[in-house]
């Protein structure tokens, strides 16, 4: 075994009490970091999953219509005018199949689906409810928002004028699978459709309003033959939505709504949560670093005579430096392995103890290899860094003085 490793490990073994205490401190610190990350990441992932369960990552649509003044002012002539905001009407994206193919090829985009989406009213006997009609191509739509696992009645089938509707809407109208329903679009076109399935996403706004039908059917309801009002996209990395949205906006001239913009408040909340998590973790890491550094400084003082002897018998300063760096690194590494294990146990225990009556976790934790690997690298790095000062001090000890006074 290389000399510096041998001496470092022997010192750690020799100072059992000291090593055990600092190892315990590092382990607890790392376990807090792992537990907190697992919990916060789990909560955030669950929130994002719920949010994105009913919306695409990026939606491309025709830009809003702007008011255009009929009379322009000229030099020397003032014009008093009143500009009213332009009324918005449903319009199709020009050449949408080309746009969709183009968007689908963009880096980071994993799926694209063209839809005709507009408002309407559903009528069943004397019950009426405002609805959102979503005309989709089933295969493509299901890649963006997979309603199949959310079906609580019937199945996802849009063939032959069938529709699937949200559970709250079904309940409000008092209908179920096989029942007929009259839907009328804002264009004044109506039709009678059959309910083939009822879904429940868990998002009240969606469950109360959505009527999902085929693209062709929606095109006829909104008098947009062959048209599509939006192109919805799914991305490989959800947090790249703003960037990819901006890129597509620049390229296509269409308005690109990113889920991040539409859910800015949620993201702000998540970001605040992440900041507090990072702050807590930062202080934990600082405390761990201070703990390792103080133990090693004491060790250098205690062992200064021995260090002097090592130097006197011909140990180069660099090896003395390495002896203490290795001790810091080993404490960090061993502490992070134990701490990661503890953190996983704490997180799983927390998940179990706080699970709901249905046995499903109310606070799902997210533990992945990258978290544990990150904690290990962090703690080992902090150990090395914390050892740098004591190690430097040890390497610079004057051997003659250290032997005489150590």
């Amino acid at each position: 075994m290389p000399f510096q490793w041998f001496v470092a490990l022997r010192y750690l073994r020799d100072e059992k009490g000291q090593t055990a205490l600092i190892l315990a401190a590092v382990s607890v610190g790392v376990s807090v970091v792992v537990f907190l990350s697992a919990l916060i990441n789990g909560l955030q992932a669950s929130l994002i999953e719920t949010t994105l369960g009913s919306q695409p990552h990026v939606t491309l649509r025709v830009p809003r219509e702007e008011a255009r003044p009929l009379v322009e002012s000229e030099t020397g002539r003032a014009v008093a005018r009143l500009i009213q905001p332009a009324s918005q009407r449903l319009r199709s994206i020009d050449q949408w199949p080309v746009v969709m193919t183009d968007a689908e090829r963009a880096v980071g985009v994993t799926a694209a689906s063209a839809t005709v989406t507009g408002s309407g009213v559903a009528t069943r006997a004397d019950a009426r409810a405002p609805i959102i009609i979503r005309g989709v191509v089933p295969d493509r739509f299901l890649e963006i928002i997979d309603l199949r696992p959310k079906m609580i009645q019937g199945e996802f089938d849009l063939a032959g004028g069938s529709v699937v509707i949200g559970a709250v809407l079904a309940s409000d109208l008092g209908i179920g699978v096989g029942d007929k329903l009259r839907v009328a679009s804002t264009e004044g076109i109506d039709d009678v459709v059959t309910v083939s399935g009822v879904f429940e996403i868990g998002n009240q706004a969606v469950d109360k309003t959505w009527v999902v039908t085929s693209l062709r059917h929606a095109q006829s309801l909104f008098a947009l033959p062959g048209g599509a009002t939006t192109i919805e996209l799914k991305l490989a990395e959800v947090f790249s939505a703003d960037r990819i949205g901006d890129e597509l906006h620049m390229r296509t001239g269409l308005a690109a709504d990113s889920w991040m913009t539409l859910n800015a408040e949620l993201l702000q909340g998540l970001s605040a949560q992440s900041s507090s998590k990072n702050l807590i973790q930062f202080f934990v890491v600082v405390i761990v670093a201070l703990g390792i550094a103080s133990v090693l400084i004491v060790s250098v003082v205690q062992k200064s005579r021995e260090i002097g002897i090592l130097r006197a018998v011909g140990t180069p300063p660099i090896r003395v430096l390495a002896i203490f760096l290795i001790q810091g690194g080993v404490l960090g590494l061993a502490g992070s392995v134990i701490g990661s294990g503890l953190g996983v146990v704490f997180a799983r225990a927390f998940e179990t103890f706080t699970s709901g009556p249905d046995g499903l976790p109310r606070f799902p934790v997210q533990i992945d290899v990258s978290l544990l690997a990150g904690a290990t690298v962090l703690a080992t790095g902090v150990g090395l860094l914390a050892a740098a000062l004591p190690a430097r001090r040890a390497a610079r000890l004057d051997p003659a003085t250290a032997i005489r006074s150590g």
Binding site: F3, E306, I309, R311, A312, V313, G314, T315, P316
Partner: protein, 239 residues
């Protein structure tokens, strides 16, 4: 005639920045190969300072130290460490072994520290030396579990582990009873006679000094007497 093993030329060592204290006031000393010399003097006379400078643990304020043909004044810290590791052996008053290590590990230490990784030869040599100092049955004991005399014998084995040209011993018997002192002294003399290793022994003990073939006395930082050896250096330095 071959170069001397050690030449100390007009070495001055001063301490302090504002009030300067002169520990060595211009020391000249030559040690031939194979000598067994005692360095004596009252407390504060500069013995340890001189030993530290010869041992390359300290640098003189002025003057030169030439060790084994190398002028050390021009060497940097790294070169000094390497020269120290390969040319010098140290025996301290309080043995200064590493208590967390076994006797054999302590003896291997100088070679291991210098070369980085241990070798079979290193271990073999350490065991042979422990055998030579009569501690082969204690080789795997932690040095903290050995008696004072045994610890000092391990320290001598450690000092000799790299076959140094010069062993510097700072009060090697200062902390031992008479019987152990004699044992340790005889051991050093044995190595001096058998292998021709040069020894410079700092001692307060006139009984020990009287048995060396050369006695150098230092007072107030200057060598005041240097008794002519009874037997020439080539005669293996008998005391």
């Amino acid at each position: 005639m071959a170069d001397p093993l050690l030449s100390v030329v007009q070495v001055v060592r001063e301490y302090g920045e504002h009030v300067r204290t002169r520990a060595l006031a211009g020391v000249d000393l030559v040690l031939e190969r194979g000598e067994f010399a005692a360095l004596i003097g009252p407390s504060g006379s500069g013995k340890s300072t001189l030993l530290n400078i010869i041992g390359l643990l300290d640098r003189p304020t002025s003057g030169r130290v030439v060790l084994n043909g190398t002028d050390t004044s021009a060497l940097d810290e790294r070169a000094l460490t390497a020269l120290r590791a390969r040319t010098l052996g140290f025996v301290f008053q309080f043995h200064h072994l590493l208590p967390a290590f076994t006797a054999v590990e302590n003896v291997m230490l100088p070679a291991w520290a210098d070369e980085g990784t241990p070798s079979r030869e290193m271990r073999q040599r350490a065991r042979e030396l422990l055998d030579a100092v009569g501690l082969s049955d204690r080789a795997d004991y932690r040095t903290g579990d050995l008696s004072g005399g045994q610890q000092q014998r391990v320290a001598i084995a450690r000092a000799l582990s790299r076959r140094p040209a010069l062993v510097l011993a700072d009060e090697p018997t200062g902390n031992l009873d008479t019987a152990s002192s004699d044992e340790v002294f005889e051991l050093m003399r044995h190595f001096n006679r058998t292998f021709g290793t040069t020894f410079l022994v700092v001692t307060h003990d006139s009984r020990i000094a009287g048995r060396c073939n050369r006695v150098i006395e230092i007072v107030d930082g200057l060598i005041t007497s240097d008794l002519v050896p009874l037997v020439g250096p080539s005669g293996s330095g008998g005391c």
